[in-house]
């Protein structure tokens, strides 16, 4: 077992365990913190795939900014395990059915995708995740979608300002 494999399994176990904890935790703040752990594990996977830029941007944007805002909201709303509304049993049943269907779809997707079975993921060799290649790809091949998404962000920002002004 090489060190890469060892790290891969470690990160995978960490990611799955944290993801389960996100769902299982009673306290919403704990859930958010476990979610941050998931992001860390996924960033670790990115680094194993030699996509350092993606890894660190994942941390900065998701773990560093978005999750902080999540924490803000949860801390200010003072959601505790006790204040969590009691869901009735029908709602729980509906949730189980919906989640089960989604899981079934995912499993069948993975099973049917033959291409996935034949591709061995090459660890630590890919070049596309490096910032130089990523930048070139974004600004040469995908420049139109990239700019459109930035316009989308701009409109979201303007919208936030407009709502803020109204209040």
């Amino acid at each position: 077992m090489s060190i890469t494999q060892f790290l891969f399994y470690f990160l995978t176990v960490l990611a799955l365990f944290s993801a389960v904890m996100v769902v299982v935790s009673k306290n919403p703040v704990h859930s958010v913190l476990w979610l941050i752990a998931v992001f860390f594990a996924i960033s670790g996977h990115y680094i194993l795939l030699n996509a350092q830029f993606l890894a660190i941007v994942n941390l900065i944007v998701y773990a560093g900014a978005i999750m902080v805002l999540f924490l803000f909201v949860i801390m200010l709303m003072n959601l505790n395990a006790s204040t969590e509304p009691q869901k009735n049993n029908w709602l729980k049943l509906a949730g189980v059915i919906a989640g089960g269907c989604f899981l079934m779809v995912l499993v069948s997707l993975v099973k049917q995708a033959n291409e996935l079975n034949n591709i061995a993921v090459t660890m630590g060799t890919g070049e596309i995740g490096l910032i130089k290649n990523l930048g070139k790809a974004l600004f040469n091949d995908f420049v139109v979608p990239f700019e459109i998404s930035s316009v989308l962000f701009l409109s979201a920002m303007v919208g936030a300002v407009v709502i803020g002004k109204k209040a």
């Binding site: 077992m1 090489s2 060190i3 060892f6 306290n27 703040v29 913190l33 941050i36 350092q52 830029f53 660190i56 941007v57 941390l59 900065i60 773990a63 560093g64 900014a65 902080v68 924490l71 803000f72 801390m75 200010l76 490096l130 910032i131």
Partner: protein, 350 residues
Amino acid sequence: MTLLAVDWLLIIEKLVLIAIIVFASLGIALYTTFAERKVAAVLQDRPGPNRAGPFGLLQPFADGLKLIMKEEIIPTSSNKALFVLGPGLAMTAALMTCSVIPWSSHIEIFDRKIDLQIADINIGILYIFGVVSMGVYGMMIGGWASNNKFSLMAALRGASQAISYELAMGLSLIAVLMLSGSLSLKTIVDGQMAAGSYWNIVYQPLGFIIFFVCALAECNRTPFDLPEAENELNFGYHQEYSSMKLGFYLFSEYINMIMSSAVMASLYFGGFDVPFLDESTLAPNIAAIIGVAALLTKIAIFIFVFMWIRWTVPRFRYDQLMNLGWKTMIPLALFNMLVTGALILLKAGV
């Protein structure tokens, strides 16, 4: 022997380097607390701590001993696990920054070239950003887990302040990155050291000022020390903490200060470069030692300026802080970025 087939020598070398740098930063932070008190004293016409040891030099150890001996109090209504996690997280995030700072060039021991930088990753600056954004969690978790209104308010203030100033900091950095064409701190420093090139401060005075102000805000130093504004929040986010847990929070602030000084020195003041000295003519080991000394001197100067500002400028009000961050710093940083980009294009002759 194929199990974990790695260069063991490299791992040992890096571990030794990590240990040295971490303990050196802790030691420097220890004496930075002493320096803070001394600087405050001389700026206010006082002698400062002068009882423990000659010139009071043993004072930080006395302070540390006092902190360790204090009773460890965990409030009963707090969230215990997170209450303990908070200071640890703050300290870890503060110390993690040091891994991408090039402390000097390389030294040679037994024909082995050892870089005095823990990891020369090609996204060094982004790594620092990631770690800085993690530092917010130490504050937030600690403030929330204390189960105290004042702590929570202070933690929220601190976090929103950190997020706001991170933006301006990143934008001011982009100009430097455009100049050097790399995200690796080592490459940036090498670019400034090369013959015929000047330190980045010559090209980026405005960017440096923005970065410096944001660094003050990120380290929660006066005039941006709102998370611990005594007059309205008692003691801020670490109000419920005592003993070494409080010490960790206070210490991590000083380590953050050292690290941001090191980053500023590397980005704008040539890192371990000594002005008007050609390092390549010296033996590598001597050059490395001179480099470390040069970087430490620059860090010391920055820390002095941090303290000097702290004992001069009063604290902002919170709305003033947010106005400065969003309405002044970010537009200025954008302007700086645009002008730099335009000048680079002009020079390239497009």
